[in-house]
């Protein structure tokens, strides 16, 4: 396995706030990695550190095996599309695409034109006059057509409607399948991308709390629902991520059940259901996890 990004004990402090708190992980070559977490969890800071835009307080970052900071050899192979991207005054979409075609060695102009048509972005209007969705679409076009060996999308879809977002995922997936590259996707629309991800990183309050293959996370948690007393009896001593009750009915989300345990729960008359990646992340990051079933 080749590590395109390798982060070791990385910390970034702003005053007393640790935006990134002692994170260590790798991003594998040619995988689509999801960087998930709530707003303000530290996702953007982490990606800015990786791309040498922010300076780390402590810890190590390797991009293609090298320090990213001021390193043209590795930064030129990287494309970082972020929601908050600013553009020079008076820049129009056509100018953004022109500059991108100069800067990215693997730029595909024809693909860019196709994507512009698909997203219906006006290229002859100033970036400032575009709607949020149109500006986001320009970023998405650049991100896909750059074919950069490491492409990072940081919530690239602000203002894009569901149709356009689906088009983004479909085009990205299709182009990735034909031209494999390393993709990091930071998002809080987890359900939409869950099936695209090969690996999942979850960050919460600056700390990396999940670092696992997506397949491993699927089915790693289970909802158990049924009579209050039964649910309580079953969940006692287990890793409860989330709990809820309505009168005599209770529901818990439990991590790490074996198939046999699930079968036992079902045999005991409890409802056993799957937990989506999104629900799992919500359970892990909402700060009220591990509460007892209210009694």
């Amino acid at each position: 396995m080749t590590a395109i990004v390798e982060v070791t004990d990385l910390t970034k402090r702003y005053g007393s706030l640790a935006a990134v708190d002692d994170a260590s992980f790798v991003v594998r070559e040619h995988a689509i990695t999801g960087l998930l977490g709530r707003n303000g969890a530290g996702k953007t800071t982490l990606m800015q550190l990786i791309t040498g835009q922010e300076l780390a307080t402590s810890g190590e970052i390797r991009l293609f095996g090298q320090h990213p900071l001021e390193n043209a050899a590795v930064l030129s192979r990287t494309c970082f599309i972020k929601e908050s991207q600013t553009y020079p005054d008076g820049f129009k979409g056509e100018h953004v695409l022109k500059v991108a075609s100069w800067v990215f060695p693997h730029w595909d102009e024809q693909l860019a034109r196709e994507l512009v048509d698909e997203f219906r972005v006006p290229l002859d209007r100033r970036m400032k006059k575009l709607s949020r969705g149109q500006a986001s679409a320009i970023g998405v076009v650049v991100g896909i057509a750059s074919r950069a060996e490491l492409t990072i999308f940081d919530e690239p879809y602000a203002g894009l409607d569901a149709v356009a977002r689906q088009a983004f995922y479909d085009r990205l997936l299709a182009d990735y399948a034909e031209h494999p590259r390393t993709i990091v996707m930071s998002t809080h629309l987890i359900d939409e991308v869950a099936d695209l991800l090969e690996h999942v990183l979850v960050i919460d309050e600056g700390r990396l709390i999940i670092d696992a293959p997506a397949e491993e996370l699927r089915g790693s948690a289970t909802t158990i629902a049924g009579k209050h007393a039964d649910v309580e009896a079953f969940s006692r001593g287990r890793d409860v991520l989330d709990a809820d009750s309505l009168g005599a009915f209770a529901s818990v989300t439990v991590a790490g059940l074996t198939p046999a345990e699930r079968a036992a729960a079902a045999a005991a008359g409890l409802e056993v259901g799957p937990v989506s990646l999104q629900q799992l992340v919500i359970g892990r990051t909402r700060g009220t996890a591990r509460q007892e079933v209210a009694s």
Partner: protein, 132 residues
């Protein structure tokens, strides 16, 4: 794609279903990894894992540079496997639910007979029913 089971298993099962119901006969070409990924909107690595499962089981074989094809005897083998799994996957949940409703085995058997009799098609159709 449902949330419970690994996607690669679901991909493999979808292809298996098509082999079993005859829509993908022996010798037929299996969609490429990229086609599967695009269609199901999943990571190509996941689609590959699913297909490799079928290759490892000898149900599908690769022809270098051409594609992947359903292997001879694949359907018969899948039918055999499914029959073996039938009790585990269908009868046990059925009996568990029946027990909850206080339906005994004899009563259940009678219900099965009646249901089969009233069904339009012949009993024993190998269905496309999803198996859980």
């Amino acid at each position: 794609m449902d949330d419970e089971r690994p996607i690669f298993l679901q991909v493999a099962e979808l292809i298996e279903n098509q082999i079993v119901d005859g829509s993908m006969p022996e010798g037929a070409q299996v969609p490429s990894i990229n086609e599967l990924a695009a269609f199901h909107r999943i990571n190509p690595a996941t689609a590959l894992k699913g297909v490799n499962r079928l290759v490892d089981a000898g149900l599908v074989h690769k022809q270098r540079g051409i594609g992947m094809f359903v292997s001879p005897g694949a359907r018969a083998r899948l039918l055999g496997q499914r029959r073996e799994a039938f009790a585990e996957q269908y009868l046990r949940p059925l009996l568990a639910e029946a027990a909850k409703l206080s339906i005994g085995p004899a009563e259940l058997a009678e219900m099965v007979r009646q249901e089969a009799g009233s069904a339009a098609g012949p009993a024993g159709v190998v269905g496309t029913a999803p198996h859980v």
